[in-house]
């Protein structure tokens, strides 16, 4: 267990940890924005938008994340799109998670009584205003529990980025393994780090649930 504090190993571990947090936070932000937009598309009265939302969810939710990383990292550069490895990873992970965020939000939208939207429209709010001011805020509050599962899965999914040249936590594990340290000790520390991140996300959501519950 002590290897972590020898030979500058801790710096590598810490940098990997911070990179995982950065990757996860940026992906979460992208997933949240894109997922909300996709959910809005899926309930919109415009058929083209609905089809786009459905298509996105079908493709990104049903494709293995590793394949998505491949597609983004090796598919985009030939098309003239060049970003850092981190940005590619954020795009892959964010787009993938957005599909799940969309579906969770959509289930929440379906729990908001139709009368809420009718009242909003009767006041003269537009479709977009009805969604952003009345329906989505209530939908989001009801789906905090399943949403926390999505955002706890995200940092753990981010480990795949390690195989695509992002020096995050899981790639630190690979380096330690190559240096010949005990596999058990390495995985113990890596697991602890992921646990810290997941537990923090879970706590954050529990706090939000206690603050934002909607009484009916």
């Amino acid at each position: 267990m002590g290897f972590l504090f020898e030979d500058g190993n801790f710096a590598l571990f810490r940098d990997g940890f911070l990179q995982t947090i950065e990757l996860s936070a940026l992906s979460a932000l992208l997933a949240l924005l894109l997922g909300t937009l996709l959910a809005a598309f899926r309930v919109s009265p415009v058929p083209v938008l609905r089809a786009f939302g459905t298509g996105w969810v079908t493709i990104f939710r049903n494709t293995p994340l590793t394949v998505l990383f491949f597609a983004v990292t090796f598919g985009l550069p030939p098309l003239g799109v060049h970003f850092s490895h981190l940005v590619f990873a954020v795009l892959a992970l964010g787009s993938y998670t957005a599909a799940f965020v969309c579906e969770v939000l959509r289930s929440g939208i379906n729990t908001v009584p139709i009368g809420q939207a009718e009242a909003a429209r009767s006041l003269g709010l537009t479709f977009g205003q009805t969604l952003t001011q009345v329906v989505l805020p209530q939908a989001a509050r009801t789906v905090l529990a399943p949403m926390s599962s999505v955002f706890i899965a995200l940092p753990r999914n981010s480990a795949i980025a390690g195989a695509f040249s992002v020096s995050e936590l899981y790639s630190a594990q690979q380096t330690f393994s190559e240096r010949g340290y005990s596999i058990f000790a390495i995985f113990f520390w890596v697991a602890c780090a992921y646990l810290v991140i997941s537990a923090t996300v879970a706590l954050l959501f529990r706090f939000l649930e206690s603050r934002l519950a909607v009484a009916r």
């Binding site: 009368g115 009242a119 003269g124 001011q133």
Partner: protein, 257 residues
């Protein structure tokens, strides 16, 4: 309430809401059949009839919460446009009060009354808050402003819903069975607010089973059955001498039990 002078000046004005030959189906059910209706400025029209007669649907077509299959609906001379920004603007002119209140559950009472003013009318927040406070006082729930809807009684919620609709300064108010979901002891506090509104000259379309309200506040009673307006008259004439068999039957059922 309304003097004969009012009636005369009303008759001169162009009607505020006009329905012409409106038809609507729910699948095989012909829920609105050849509806022709004109509502004048300041008029209080009460819609009564057995359940399933189409009265709620008729009420909801006036701000296009229900679309119609054929016929035209105009408000203040403007035909109801298709779904979109223009319809949203027109809806702001038509207040709606629902059976189930439909207050925004995640917003406080005050925020409920402020939202439309700010987002639809573009009124500055502080002015909207002042207007909201005044309206809440007027309907008797000023002390509840910072509470959430679920913390209020049904009667209080419905009065907030009326204040929310009034905040848009509407030309006409639609009430879709506003007291049907209320405990009996709360019905009067809502009807009292509506009576006051009627006395202040608001144009109102009210779907209700409250015959007392129809008698005391309505200028005209429409009796609907099977998707048609079967009979219309002043409340006095309608309740004392209904002409159609359907209306006689309906009244005998609700008035003598």
């Amino acid at each position: 309430m309304s003097t004969s002078l009012d009636q005369d000046s009303r008759a001169d004005a162009a009607p505020l809401v006009v329905l012409r030959n409106v038809n609507k189906h729910f699948g095989a059910l012909h829920v609105l059949q050849d509806i022709d209706l004109e509502i004048k400025q300041g008029e209080v029209v009460v819609l009564i009839g057995p359940s399933g007669s189409g009265k709620s649907t008729l009420c909801r077509t006036i701000n296009r919460l229900e679309t119609v299959d054929s016929g035209t609906i105009t408000i203040d001379g403007r035909p109801l446009p298709a779904e979109g920004r223009e319809l949203a603007r027109l809806r702001a002119e038509v207040g709606m009060v629902f059976q189930s209140f439909n207050l925004f559950a995640h917003k406080t009472v005050l925020e409920n009354v402020v939202l439309g003013q700010v987002k639809v009318r573009g009124i500055a927040k502080d002015r909207a808050v002042r207007t909201a406070q005044e309206l809440l006082e007027r309907v008797g729930v000023g002390a509840q402003a910072s509470k959430y809807p679920a913390q209020l009684s049904g009667g209080q919620q419905q009065r907030v819903a009326i204040a929310r609709a009034l905040a848009m300064n509407p030309k006409v108010m639609l009430f879709d069975e506003p007291t049907s979901a209320l405990d009996p002891e709360m019905i009067n506090e809502v009807l009292e607010v509506m009576r006051q509104l009627a006395a202040d000259g608001m144009t109102m379309v009210v779907v209700t089973h409250e015959m007392g309200f129809a008698r005391s506040a309505a200028n005209r009673v429409l009796f609907m059955a099977d998707g048609r307006i079967v009979e219309q008259n002043t409340p006095e004439a309608f309740f004392t001498a209904p002409r159609s068999e359907r209306a006689k039957d309906f009244l005998s059922k609700i008035l003598h039990h």
